[in-house]
């Protein structure tokens, strides 16, 4: 069982990463990653939604007929998102205002319905929750990495606007690199989002390529052993 969970984690965080491999949930991913904090905020909201929706979908999986499966799932997700939206509006209003339309749009974040359909609808609650968590964490990871990179290149800062999420004390968290850096606007404009994600995927491919190169050498005896056994 634990191996199972390990596989789920690895899937969510790396091998089957929502953003880098499945290319789902791209809209918020690209739209709100102008800064690290924005990415973090939306990432957490999405993570929460994923966990809750996976849990509820898995819990009711035996009760829904195929023709209304999608409407029901969508209803559940929409309710969860609306609740999260209101909570954010109430408790982190600054972030709420910046993320704007992309909070309700978590509903249509393809990764959520995709997980509901392909995992939660077929598995018991606990694995579904873990899957939701891992998938969400993988997504969150990409959001903050992309947000961080774009902020760094675009403005030369990191953690700017943290106070939106962590309150006034966080105003001093902003890290500024290289005074007099003029900023490279491409990174924060829409094209930069696409190109940035493209580069991230290429980076992942690079790591995998190196890994397989190492592996093919190592793996061969293992295969032989198993076949002779």
């Amino acid at each position: 069982m634990s191996a199972d969970y390990q596989k789920i984690s690895q899937d969510g965080l790396w091998t089957n990463n929502v953003a880098l491999v499945q290319l789902l949930g791209l809209c918020p991913l690209l739209a709100v990653t102008g800064t690290f904090i924005n990415g973090l905020g939306l990432g957490l909201a999405t993570l929460l939604t994923l966990i809750l929706s996976n849990a509820s979908v898995s819990a009711i999986r035996h009760w829904v007929r195929p023709e209304i499966r999608i409407p029901v799932f969508v209803l559940i997700i929409a309710s969860i998102v609306t609740i999260i939206e209101m909570l954010m509006h109430a408790w982190v209003p600054g972030l709420y205002n910046i993320l704007g339309i992309f909070i309700p749009l978590i509903v249509t974040n393809c990764s959520i319905i995709a997980r509901a359909e392909s995992f939660a609808a077929k598995n018991p609650v606990l694995p579904s929750v873990i899957d939701g968590f891992m998938m969400g964490a993988g997504f969150l990871l990409v959001l903050v990495v992309l947000g961080g990179l774009r902020e760094l290149i675009g403005f030369g800062t990191l953690l700017d606007h943290s106070y939106l999420m962590f309150g006034e004390t966080a105003r001093s968290w902003t890290l500024s690199f290289a005074d007099g850096y003029r900023g490279f606007l491409l990174a924060v404009l829409p094209p930069g989002a696409f190109i940035g994600l493209g580069l991230l995927i290429a980076g992942k491919n690079y790591i995998e390529l190196r890994k397989t190169k190492h592996q093919t050498v190592k793996l061969q005896p293992v295969i032989e052993n198993s076949s002779t056994a």
Binding site: L87, P93, G94
Partner: protein, 212 residues
């Protein structure tokens, strides 16, 4: 067959009801906090225009509605806020639109003391070219603070222009249009205030409900 249809409808209804119930519940429990937040947000931007010691009223609930006017660049009824200290009106804050920005409208909040001098100017929303026209944003440069304290009397009509046009205010290198538009809007607001001062002061004595 009919049974199947009914079950389908029932299941969907059930989930809708559960979802709706949860959402409604959350709405009720967060509604007041959300209202507080929204007001705080508004207050936050209004406050940045006036030093705190200059007024003592609740700015956000002192809104008056203003008919559309060319000098304010508005085409719909807009809102202004009045600041009072000890029930004396000390300043007005106008929602102003500069229509001739480089890439479109520039939305401004402009605070004017009752004596006709500028309390502060802030950009609310704009589409000017990043890296060029966006220096009007307080986050990007302090250019916008140059207006503070100026009035129709402190600068002549000719000086209410950017330097390239022979006026008092700097332009940005490579961008004249945006500052020109903002200077123009501020100047127009002062003119508007000059023309409507009496009406405005009267209006504040009987506050309009902010709902309007």
């Amino acid at each position: 067959m009919n049974r199947q249809v009914l079950i389908t409808a029932l299941v969907l209804t059930l989930f809708a009801a559960i979802g709706g119930g949860l959402v409604s519940y959350t709405e009720q429990s967060t509604a007041s906090q959300i209202r507080v937040n929204d007001k705080m947000m508004l207050l936050h931007s209004l406050k940045s225009l006036l030093p705190a010691q200059r007024y003592d009223n609740d700015l956000a609930s002192s809104a008056i509605s203003i008919a559309p006017h060319q000098l304010l660049g508005t085409t719909k009824t807009s809102r202004a806020y009045s600041a009072t200290k000890n029930t004396d009106t000390v300043a007005f804050i106008f929602n102003v639109i500069a229509n001739n920005g480089y890439n479109g409208k520039i939305y401004l909040l402009i605070g004017v003391y009752t004596d006709g001098s500028i309390a502060g100017v802030r950009v609310v929303r704009h589409k000017e070219t990043p890296g060029l026209g966006d220096a009007i944003d307080e986050n990007r440069s302090s250019w916008i603070l140059n207006f503070n304290q100026h009035s129709l009397s402190s600068l002549t009509e000719k000086q209410w222009k950017v330097k390239r046009d022979g006026g008092y205010f700097d332009q940005f290198t490579g961008a004249t249009i945006t500052p020109r538009a903002v200077v123009n809007a501020v100047h127009n607001t002062l003119l508007y205030y000059q023309q409507h001062k009496a009406v405005l002061l009267q209006a504040t004595t009987k506050p309009v409900s902010p709902k309007e």
